[in-house]
Every structure is written in structure tokens, then in C-alpha cells.
Amino acid sequence: MDRARYTDLFLTEGREHLVTCAQLLVELERAPRDLEPVHGLFRAIHTLKGMAATMGYSQVTDLSHEMETVLDAVRRGERRASRPLIDVLLETVDALTAGIETAARGQDAELDFQDLLARLTKRPRTRKRASNDAAAVKNTPLAGMWVQVVIDPAAPMRGGRAAVLLREAGSLGTVSEITPSASELERESFTGQLGFHLVSDAAPAAIAARLRTVGDVREVTCDPRSPGHEASGAGERHAAKPSTPTVRVDRRRLDALMNQVGELVVTKNRLASLAAGSGGELSAAVDRMARLVSEMQAEVMLARLTPAAEVLDRFPRMVRDLSRVVDKEVSLIVEGRHIEVDRAILEQIGEPLLHLLRNAIDHGIESVEARKKAGKPPAGQLSLIAARERNSVTFEVRDDGAGIDRAAILEKARREGSVADSVTSLTDEQLLEVLGRPGFSTAKRVTSVSGRGVGVDVVLTRIRPLGGSVEIRSEVGRGTSVTLRLPLTVVLLRALLARVGQERYVIPVTHVAETVFLDSRSATTLDGRQALKLRDETIPTVRLRDLAGFPDEPTPTRQPCVVFEVGTRRTALVVDALLGQEEIVVEPFQPPSGTPAVFSGATILSDGVPSLILDAAAVV
């Protein structure tokens, strides 16, 4: 058997099951009488156990088994899902999470779960079980067969009989894909017919003969031609399982595909610009290719979309642990788990969200006493909300805690000289600006004063290169909300091309509200500086010419403007010319020293010329 291939599958699925377990345990702790999470837990850990046994990871198998036994007792009302028990179970999940990685590296035998085993059973355990299973697995050769067994329908305890049979089969080789599932086998309604896949070096006839020696067995058939997948007579039950219309694909393949599509899009753009004006068949062919490439790009993007749950589901556990460390009551609500997001973004969003949640628990939400005094419910409400908007996805972390102490932050900012003395109160935007300054947030002294701030710069430095932005809203006594806004995909960005002098710049559309002209009718002033009058609003302007460090030139009467919107703030960027839209591939960018901070990345334009990407959030 191709063990490496199975190892990957084992790890992928095993990790998923363990994440599920952690999540369900937290649910169970919240509602210890609700048996629904227990059933889910039991299924997940049972599946893991089966997989581990098949792989011959006996330590992992043992620990999973013990956890399953405990869960079974809870399920049957013999043990209570107390906090200490849930603690041990969570520890077990942690140990298994690390354990499956170790086992997959071939070091299962080095795992030592004695302590956990003892605490799970509350009885000292000295011996490693399941070593027989491991030995059986190691000797398994390649041939597989589908074994179908009929147990006497009149026999008592057919499920127990099935267990004897499966143990016997396990001594002959590797058993998998047991149908019906192990939990169904234990039900009274189990008819006595079961099937399983067996990999063994024994001859089918010998296997059948051996299995017939098990009590109450009426019939055994071994079908070597249908290793559990073809719908043969013996495999009917098995084949009746619904086949899912999905297939697992290694993520690296999808990533590679996406990168290639990205390059293809750029090449397409280049080709289109070369063919422009040539007319005739060449143009038609280029147009057609352009359409196909766009469709392909959309398909690949869809294939890469991943439910936000993949990242969000880690947090209930973390919030629970952390709130206990700081001795606060926190109830977390997660919304938008099903929102689908480009995986590249999901991978980047975990750490910033972690910082924000940590902040909220550590500094935002008050102690139980303080909350009672303030007339709030004892448990702090923490929300983690993913939402999809037209051109972006947002992740919001919201708490109903004490809010940010603006006065303390302002004072500190003034002392540092980062805010003019004339400023008497900080707006939400200024707050973000101050907190996001590297060094400001990391200073311990400030954290304790401000009651918040740790990691805001970390969040910013993570989000901005992705073309995203951060918004903070905070109200004293009412709580704080931080929203991260990100483009739908990071590999390919739709962007405006703007020109200043002979230089072209790329402006991602993520934060572009509209484009207008600044002329004699729309020009106005705001605090003595040039501004744009747009409908009823006066919007401050910034000149790209200044940002990019070009010398001044006489201003034409009519200049194109790009209106950015980040949170509630709007800024109009004045450029020499707008050249249209293009899809760009974002390149990892190490800014050369001296590059203005408003540029967050670089790309190669369709004509092969490199160009800087403007970070809207830094402009506004």
C-alpha cells in the first residue's frame, strides 16, 4: 500500500476531526446537558481512532479510544460533562493534534500519553494496548478484498458478534470502510449483515474459512475483484452510500494553478495591447482568448474559495481558554462561518483576528464585578463576524467592553508629538492612526494606560499589503469594534491605472468609491487646503504627484480624481490622467529604501513595465 498517500489523507482528515472536536467541546461546556455535541464528538473521535488503527499508530489509537470511552459514558449519562472533564478532553484533543503529526512522521512509538490516559480513565494505566493492531498492519501486503458477512439474524447481540468478527479479521490484515458504521453496529436494529474492506496476504478462501469459525456467522464472501468500490453483489450496501460530487485536491496544486492563471491574465493583457488597432482576425482571436482566460480565472478563483469557518472555528476554543486565564466571563458569537473567501486571505487573516480577540478579552471586556457595577450582564459579549460585500470581505471583532480610553491615548500621542497640541479629542480615524504606529502599541507602559493597543500595528502591517484596510469604532463604556476589510482575492486585483508625469501607478479598486473630475465647479477648500465638492460632501484632496515626489507643475483646469473610501473617511486622489482598468498580479514587495509608505506592493503591467501599487488606506 502506498503509505505516504494514506499518511497525507490521514493527516488532512485527522486534523479536521480534531478541530471539530475542540469546537464541539466548547459547545458542550456551554450547554453540558445538550447531547448533540457529544454525538458529534463521539463520531469524530471514533473515526480518528479507526484511521489511526488502520495506519498502525497504536499510541494515537489508544488515546482516541480512551477519549471515545469517556464520551460514550457521557453519552449514556454515566459521566457528567463537568468542567474538569472537558479540560482533560480538550487537553486530549491538543495531545492528539500534536500526536497525529508525530505519528505521521513515523514516531508513533515515541508518543507517551500515560498521564492523559490515566486522567481520562482515572485509573493508572501501564500498558500499551493495540500493539497487536499495529503488528497486523505492518505485515499487510497489497491485495485488497471486499468481505461481506451475514450473522445469524436470530442470534443475540449481533453487534458484539460483529466486534468479535472484526477483531478476527483485524488479526488477518487491515480492516477499513466498515459498513454499516461502528456505531450502527452497536444498535439493536443492526440486522447482522456487514461488509468491510480487508487487505491481507491470506487467500480469500482461507479468510472466509477463518471468519466462519466465529460464532453465529452464517455466511462469508470475499470478493477480491471489488475492493470496496465496485458495486458487486457483495458490495451493495457499500455502493449504496451516497457518492459526494467533490474531490480532494492538494492545495499547492490550486495555488500553482492560480498563479499560472495570474500570469496568463497578464500575458493576455499584454497581447491585447499589442494587438490593439491591428483589427481583423487577430483582434477577434485575442478577444476570444481574453474571454476564455477571464472565465478560467473566475473558475479557479471559485475553486480556491474556502469557508471562513476554516479560520473562525479555531477561535471559540482560544476565547474560552484566554477568558479563563484572565478570569473573565466571555461569550463569543461567530457569524458568517459559511462565507467563502480566497484561501490566501484566510491564511493571512488568522493572526490579525487573534490579536484583536485577545485585545478585546484582555483589555476591552471588563471583569465580572466591573461589569455588574456598570449594569452590564456578567458575561462580556464578543462577536466575530465575517461578511461578504460587493468587492470585499469584512471580518469584524466587536466587544461590549469598556471602550478605548481616548484621553490616555491622546495624552501619550501629544507627548510623542504625533498629534498637534491643538487636537483636543481623537476621532476614530485618528485613534487608529495613533494606535497603528509601530512602537506606540508595543510599549508596555502604554498598553496598561490605554487599555488597548497591543498588536494594532501588527494587524495593520498584515492587512495593508493585502490591499485591505482597518476601521476602529469605539465608545467609552459601550465597547469597541474593529473591522478588517479585504479584497475578494489577493493574487489578482482589479485596479485602476493612473498616470503622473510619465510614470504609471496601480490603484486597487477595493477602496475606490468613484472617479470624478476636479475642475472650477467642483474645487473648493477645506481648512485652507484644496478639496473636492462632491454632491453635498466636501472631500479633502491629495495629489499623487506629491505622494510620489514629483516636482510641481502648473495645474490644468480639469484633473481626474479617484475618490477613496476607507471606513467613513473619504479622500480624493488627484492624478494627471486615468488610463483605464487592468487586472494585476500582486508581487511580493520589499520596498527599496526611500519608497514612500503609500505604496504597498508592485506589479508588472501588461506592457511589461513594472509599476507601484498604491495603498488606499495609507492615503486616506
Binding site: 449514556r76 500498558r127 494496548r129 443475540p156 447481540m157 458484539g160 466486534a163 477483531r167 452497536e186
Partner: protein, 120 residues
């Protein structure tokens, strides 16, 4: 020489009945235990060819006794004696290393079949 058997059950009634079935078929009952602890202790002293083990016993249940005996002797042959409705426990016992099981109320023929299967 006939096979030696250790009978473990907390009810004298059951021990007697199993003993009669086994003796009648020519087996030698070398010991009786009424708790799990006794079962483990007698197993290591008597080294019987087979153990019949009740699942529910005071002072260490049958399943733990199975684990303990199998720890001392991985080749130990143990036959579980179960009441109706204890399927999950039977499955657990099998997974813990018991070779086979019989369900109460006992039919002598079924007990003897199981014993023969286990002694193989």
C-alpha cells in the same frame, strides 16, 4: 488432559451453573472468583487455559479484569458472560482483548460452542 477453566461471576448461582455445564462436558474448573480483583489474582496463580468472565462485578469490573489479565498474559483466553442489553460493554470487552462472549440466559450448547471456539 482436560482444559482448566477459571469461572468469574459475583453470583454463586451463575458460577454453579457455568461450573456444571463445563464439568459435565469434561472440563476442569480450577477456580472461582467473585470480583475482578480475585479474577486477576487467581489467573496469575492458576494459569488456567480459559477464563469465563462476568462483565459486571464488584471491586474491578470484568472489562478491567480482562485488561489486567491480558496485560500480564497477552495470550490469555477469556470468554465474556453478558446479560442482554450490555452490547456496548461486550464490544468494549472484545476490544480490550476478550476472545468471545455468551449471552445470559445461558443455553449449555451455546456456552460449550463458545468455549470450544476460544480454546480452538
Amino acid at each position: 488432559m482436560s482444559h482448566t477453566i477459571l469461572v468469574c461471576d459475583d453470583a454463586i448461582f451463575m458460577r454453579t451453573m457455568i461450573g456444571d455445564i463445563l464439568t459435565g462436558a469434561g472440563y476442569e474448573v480450577v477456580g472461582e472468583a467473585e470480583t475482578g480483583v480475585q479474577a486477576v489474582e487467581q489467573y496469575s496463580r492458576l494459569k488456567p487455559d480459559l477464563v469465563t468472565m462476568d462483565i459486571v462485578m464488584p471491586d474491578m469490573g470484568g472489562i478491567d479484569a480482562v485488561r489486567e489479565i491480558r496485560r500480564q498474559d497477552p495470550d490469555a483466553k477469556i470468554l465474556m458472560c453478558s446479560a442482554m442489553g450490555q452490547q456496548a460493554l461486550v464490544v468494549e470487552a472484545i476490544q480490550a482483548g476478550a476472545r468471545d462472549f455468551v449471552v445470559k440466559p445461558f443455553q449449555p450448547s451455546r456456552v460449550l460452542e463458545a468455549v470450544q471456539r476460544v480454546l480452538g
